[in-house]
């Protein structure tokens, strides 16, 4: 005797249209206030750095009046600097080199680091050990030290700084990339691709890499923050490529002496660097929190 009234339904046959995939990590992280603030700040400063020279009221080497005059005395908004040039104009010119060098060196360093980290994580054997020892050796030097040593040898040229920073960024990124990739390598879907005999490069780039994008994005913003920090510090120490060219770091160094009576020469670039690094930090933190939130959602299985 059957009392059944309803037909059997196989799992999943009558499901409605597929759910909309939530947008990418970046887009989601922009919903957080901190990411928004960071993004806006960063955008403003990048604009200043890049477009600045086009809107500067004076040329960067145009003598106005005697050094360290106040704004009122020199007819400019922020006064003159140590050479008698217009502070505002030099400030608007001064961000480009820092930003460009920072972006290039970070890009190279991150790419290198990700490749090394992925290879080390996947290799899981002596190759992993060797690579990580090598990274340890490079990491024994604080970034700025290695840059100083390199500059002492060759001179303060742009390419030297880029190489030094890229070289010191790579092992740090490699460590993080390896740390993020190791748990993924243990997961069975990697095993499934190995059983299929997929080529190692395809596994690294197509299967592993997309799964560490979140931590890598965060790490990239972190590294960018550091690169900006080191490059401006180098300039501050007097080791920029061209000591007389407008540069936020050198501006701080040279105008530092007048802080008590004509602070703008140093204050403007100080604030610019501070806000720029804060913005990259905020963006990175916003992405990190969003990624953690997504992991938590997924973990509620």
């Amino acid at each position: 005797m059957t009392i059944e009234t309803a037909p059997a339904k196989a799992e999943g046959v009558d499901t409605p249209t597929p759910a909309v995939r939530s947008t990418t990590l970046l887009a989601r992280s922009l919903r957080l206030w901190r990411t928004r603030i960071g993004a806006v700040l960063g955008l403003i400063l990048v604009l200043i750095a890049i477009v600045g020279p086009l809107v500067a009221p004076h040329a960067s080497d145009e003598f106005i009046t005697k050094p360290f005059s106040s704004g009122a005395a020199s007819g400019t908004m922020f006064g003159t600097d140590y050479l008698g040039y217009d502070v505002l104009s030099r400030f608007l010119y001064g961000g480009r080199s820092i930003l460009v060098i920072a972006v290039i060196s970070t890009a190279i360093g991150v790419t290198l680091g990700v490749v090394i980290g992925l290879v080390a994580a996947y290799a899981r054997n002596s190759l992993d050990d060797v690579l990580m020892r090598l990274m340890d050796v490079i990491m024994a030097f604080p970034q700025i030290m290695l840059a100083l040593v390199a500059v002492s040898l060759v001179g303060a040229k742009n390419w030297v700084i880029i190489v030094a920073i890229a070289l010191t960024t790579a092992p740090r990124v490699a460590r993080v990339a390896r740390g993020a990739a190791q748990p993924v390598v243990e997961r069975d879907f990697i095993g499934a691709t190995e059983a299929m005999g997929m080529s190692r490069i395809r596994i690294l780039s197509g299967e592993l890499l997309p799964n560490i994008l979140g931590p890598m994005m965060v790490e990239t913003t972190l590294r960018l923050t550091y690169s900006i920090s080191v490059i401006s510090a180098l300039a501050f120490l007097g080791l920029a490529a061209n000591p007389d060219a407008p540069n936020w770091g050198t501006m701080i160094q040279k105008n530092q002496g007048a802080l008590s009576y004509q602070p703008w020469g140093a204050l403007l670039p100080i604030m610019a660097i501070a806000l720029l690094t804060m913005s990259t930090g905020l963006i990175g933190d916003g992405i990190a929190r969003t990624a953690a939130g997504i992991d938590r959602e997924r973990g509620d299985e």
Binding site: M1, I3, E4, T5, A6, P7, A8, K9, A10, E11, G12, V13, D14, T15, T17, P18, A19, R21, R187, D188, F189, G191, A192, T193, E194, A195, M196, G197, M198, E207, P210, N211, L213, E297, R298, E301
Partner: protein
């Protein structure tokens, strides 16, 4: 064990007053979504109440609430939990602290992670005594020694100096039991304490729980997803679904004549040792707390539903004294003959041409340790061979060696006539295509960044079978074949349930038309009802597509429904190897006999099958 051998729990349950009374328990998320709703039950002193449910039923949450505890993100929103004349839910923090560990204690699911890795076990045992009683060292030392003896662990003080990681899983769990019974509580909540333990250890732990509960007159709540385990340990059972108790009653009544359609289907989904019957799963899956439907939560999956079911949540209907179910058709349900679930499986005899897969003297290592000692097996065409063993037996290593995922082996594995290389990468494309592997963990075997369609289509591109339009079509067809609609191709794994993901994994394995399917514990991470559906699917596909299958599992009754031959492994050796029906009915080796008798199953618990007595000299060595 027959019911004669169980301690006298029947009498215990009629004692009154009840030691614990729960009324209208309500637990919600912080945003107000109900996780446990309107829960009421009682437990008498000396009685074990089993709470059964699948994932998402809310059973663990109920257990914790009896200690006044809710996990992060949840809060106890209403109801009363009366222990004697005190309401636990109304207590202050200080009172709760006094209560926990002394009047009410908890045995957690994972003993390894609930023991502090940085503290010696002696310290952890002592502190539960000190927190609730004397700080007298001599007294406490004596108590601890007594506790250790009660759980059959060594009472030597040197043993107490060990750290948790120096104990086996079974030993860790027994330390947990010792801590729970230390202060002679009135109520003990056990949360799946035998999950992850070997069958042998499991049966010892269950026996210890039963004995201690009766000896000390303790009321016990035993939470589990495993109906067979519940049958072995509990007198009364509460079945939970989607946050409510849908059936409550004496254990044997519940299993032999269930009054709720869900319970009925659940019982039908359990693998049986005797008589090959196909497993019948429950299609669909339990709704998440925020998506519970109006009316009965089980209605969407229920074959007995009528329009009235979707109107309001059914109130408990009493079908017999002490046995009630939340179903408006309960009286009809209880009268239906239970035993006829599932069609008898007529497994076709395997063909005896040349075997499709031969293992000859395979010896495998993990680093310096030899884990497989000379394994020899054959797999015939269209046959399903089950490899059964406990953890550490080498069954997974064998499966992985066959697929080329484990490289460190010697000996010979032949596909037809061709010798196989040790690593998958060294094998030819055709060989790799012919042997496909399905992993245990559905949550790890799919790339979270790829859609279902991309994952299922991967073999087509790697083996160069099809691409573009044709590949898409094939993927769609394959998804239909595993009972998922083609629309699933656009979804991502995190939008799928465990059962759905496992179907995707099966689709991925089958799309390249392999000849051998290796299934490694593919159902262990799934709920019982889903497990049954997957095994059902695998069996059907295997017969339809003419595949040969290697089915690895630790669950012995499961193999009855799917495999013609079975090999039992222990410690890297083959203990017994032969036809399934014969071996299960009449095991030749002692190890196999004990494996069968130690496996909790409904038949042994309800007295259908006399269990072999465990010889007195077989002391637990774990």
């Amino acid at each position: 064990m027959t019911t004669d051998q169980l301690p006298d729990l029947e009498a215990a349950s009629t004692r009154d007053p009840a030691a614990v009374t729960v009324r209208n328990l309500q637990i919600e998320t912080n945003s107000g979504v109900g996780v446990v709703t309107d829960l009421s039950f009682e437990i008498s002193a000396g009685e074990v109440l089993g709470v059964v449910g699948e994932s998402g039923s809310g059973k663990t949450t109920v257990g914790l609430s009896l200690l006044g505890h809710a996990r992060r993100g949840l809060r106890i929103a209403g109801g009363t939990v009366m222990l004697g004349d005190q309401n636990i839910l109304g207590m202050s923090d200080a009172d709760l602290r006094r209560l926990r560990g002394s009047l009410v204690s908890y045995v957690p699911q994972d003993p390894a992670s609930s023991l502090n890795p940085a503290l010696r076990i002696g310290v952890q045992l002592r502190e539960v005594l000190e927190a609730h009683g004397s700080r007298n060292n001599a007294e406490n030392d004596a108590r601890i020694a007594e506790m250790m003896r009660e759980v059959a662990l060594s009472d030597d003080p040197a043993y107490l100096k060990r750290y948790p990681h120096q104990l086996s899983g079974g030993q860790q769990q027994r330390v947990g039991l010792a801590m729970a019974f230390a202060n002679r509580p009135r109520l003990i909540v056990l949360d799946e304490p035998t999950t992850g333990l070997d069958v042998t250890t499991q049966s010892t732990v269950l026996a210890t729980v039963r004995d201690l509960a009766v000896a000390h007159d303790v009321a016990a709540l035993y939470v589990t997803h495993d109906l067979a385990v519940v049958a072995a340990v509990a007198t009364r059972v509460a079945v939970m679904y989607s946050g409510r108790i849908v059936e409550l009653g004496p254990a044997d009544e519940l299993f032999e004549s269930s009054a709720h359609p869900y319970t009925r289907r659940l019982v039908g989904a359990i693998p049986r040792l005797t008589g090959g019957r196909s497993l019948v799963g429950i299609p669909g899956h339990a709704p998440s707390p925020s998506k519970r439907p109006e009316g009965c939560s089980f209605a969407p999956r229920c074959r007995l539903r009528i329009d009235e079911c979707e109107v309001a949540v059914p109130a408990p209907v009493e079908v017999k004294p002490g046995h009630s179910a939340r179903c408006i058709r309960a009286h009809e349900v209880v009268r239906v003959e239970q035993a006829g679930l599932g069609d008898p499986v007529d497994l076709p005899p395997s063909e005896t041409e040349a075997p499709v897969l031969t293992l000859d003297n395979v010896v495998a290592h993990y680093g310096p340790i030899e884990v497989l000692h000379s394994i020899s097996l054959t797999l015939e065409h269209r046959e399903c061979l089950a490899i059964v063993g406990e953890s550490g037996s080498g069954k997974t290593t064998t499966a992985r060696a066959i697929a080329g995922l484990h490289h460190d082996w010697t000996g010979s594995i032949r596909l037809g006539d061709a010798e196989l290389a040790t690593a998958a990468r060294s094998r030819s494309t055709d060989v790799r295509r012919q042997i496909q592997y399905i992993f245990q963990n559905p949550y790890g075997s799919l790339n979270p960044r790829k859609t279902v369609g991309e994952t299922v289509g991967q073999p087509l591109s790697v083996f160069g079978i099809a691409s573009g339009r044709e590949a898409e079509t094939r993927v769609g067809e394959m998804l239909e074949q595993v009972s998922l609609s083609a629309g699933y191709a656009r979804r991502y794994p995190d939008q799928l349930s465990g059962g759905e993901r496992q179907r995707v994994a099966i689709a991925r394995a089958l799309i390249s038309s392999p000849s051998i399917l290796v299934c490694d514990e593919v159902t262990s991470a799934l709920d019982v009802s889903v497990q049954a559906a997957i095994v059902e699917l695998l069996g059907t596909l295997q017969r339809e597509l003419g595949l040969s299958m290697v089915f690895v599992t630790h669950n012995l009754p499961l193999v009855r429904s799917i495999a013609q031959k079975v090999a039992v492994l222990a410690d890297g050796y083959i203990v017994e190897y032969g036809r399934t029906a014969g071996m299960l009915a009449n095991p030749q080796q002692e190890y196999t006999r004990h494996l069968i008798s130690d496996t909790p199953s409904l038949e042994t618990a309800t007295g259908d099958v006399p269990a072999t007595a465990v010889p007195a000299d077989r002391k637990p060595t774990v």
